[in-house]
Point group: C2
Amino acid sequence: MKTDEFESRLAALAERTNGALAGYLRERDNPQAKIYEAMSYSVFAGGKRLRPVLLLESCAVCGGSEEEAMPFACAMEMIHTYSLIHDDLPAMDNDELRRGRPTSHIKFGEATAILAGDALLNKAFEAMASSKSKNALRAMSIIAEASGTEGMIGGQIVDMESEGREIDINALEYIHSLKTGAIIRSSCAAGAVIGGGSEGDIAALCTFAENLGIAFQIRDDILDVTGTEEELGKPIGSDSKQGKNTYVKLVGLDRSRELVSRYSGYAKTALEPFGERAEFLAALTDHLTGRNS
Amino acid sequence: MKTDEFESRLAALAERTNGALAGYLRERDNPQAKIYEAMSYSVFAGGKRLRPVLLLESCAVCGGSEEEAMPFACAMEMIHTYSLIHDDLPAMDNDELRRGRPTSHIKFGEATAILAGDALLNKAFEAMASSKSKNALRAMSIIAEASGTEGMIGGQIVDMESEGREIDINALEYIHSLKTGAIIRSSCAAGAVIGGGSEGDIAALCTFAENLGIAFQIRDDILDVTGTEEELGKPIGSDSKQGKNTYVKLVGLDRSRELVSRYSGYAKTALEPFGERAEFLAALTDHLTGRNS
């Protein structure tokens, strides 16, 4: 797929996702308008909509409709955003800036930030529960498991407990598979389910997502050392400053680069059964892992 | 319904709910065991399981099975508990004790308490999404709306903004209808939906729940002035100390007592179409609003 074709399709998917998100979060003319304002502030803070794009494209390669997939795509972005709001809180990472703007608790106060996060997690399920797809319940189940105690939240707890301690590569992989991998995997799995994919299609997209997730995480660790703040979306060196365990710290820069290349190769191999239909997902893999790493 | 018959049925429903909750929250032998410990600590802190009981009985009066209703009943309790954990946080009500025990952030630290709340909200939807009921999606939609920005979370935002300010009775009723009323209403509505109730059954149980919710809230305000700490489950006088707006503050003790009696009467009237099947819900109404008020 040509670069300009890829980029215009990526931008169009993100734009349609933004339109749908704006619908869920539009401010009501009622006494609780503040909560919509706080939710929108963080959702429209310049995220790349990676998870929605993965979900929409996984649905598309299985032959499903974007309209049916959109509530689930928006749900993934709302879950991702809630996790960032709560991660940034003083009791967690205590970050005052994200993508160059004040974090939610700096802008709205801590109580409203906590509620805005809660409200986004809740709204994700409201959006999905209003689906008319015959596969909605299965897709929700996949997403709920990935965002919960055996997925993202579980990963955050283990990550918190490991900060400042030495851990080995297996423990690091476990944390990432839960903390960021589960959401990426469930985006693809839920998209395939809504798209009416066969069990084989769903499994192939899970394999794709698992490998993409690992490659993406290692590249993030590399950018924390070699990248610019703009590429990374947060201050350079913040992970190592906070004593976080990273691939670069554990296996070094060269080996980390090799691993990105290996896992992104595995990801693209998993797409082969879909042929030309998966060209965009293959290009996305290169886009997310290939450049500047 | 005789008092001892009512009490043994109430206890049995709570016990079966506790058994099902324990299944969802049992500690895994994995690195994220701490999150299950924190979730269980708050869920098994002596709550009366009012919302699960309302859901299970609303399902029963419509002729539905308890087995199908149980994941939804557990979800209501998990949503209720998450809201208490987050309400107690230093940035919110800053409470160190609940029902005589240290609150979650005192026991586990603030970061874990935030995540335990998130995890309970998430687990509520995990439980519901694993349902095999043909009406599961509609019930989830009702519950998600009631716990979100047009329900409980919306009520919390408006309540926070009104603290320390004078508000009128209409504003107070609006806050309660969202903050506590919506969850009570959705417990009955979702139970009726899972139970296969007719649209008329669902509407009647909503009317019951709306009136019960108001009566219950006013009685809570009365107990904050006249009750014992044991009856109320929190220190007496804490609402007025925090400058919270209550019915007693706005309309006085005598008028508040009249209102409890009036709304619990409306609640019981709404049950009449169900005849003897609703005897337990009528007795529950008396139990929740009639004594010590």
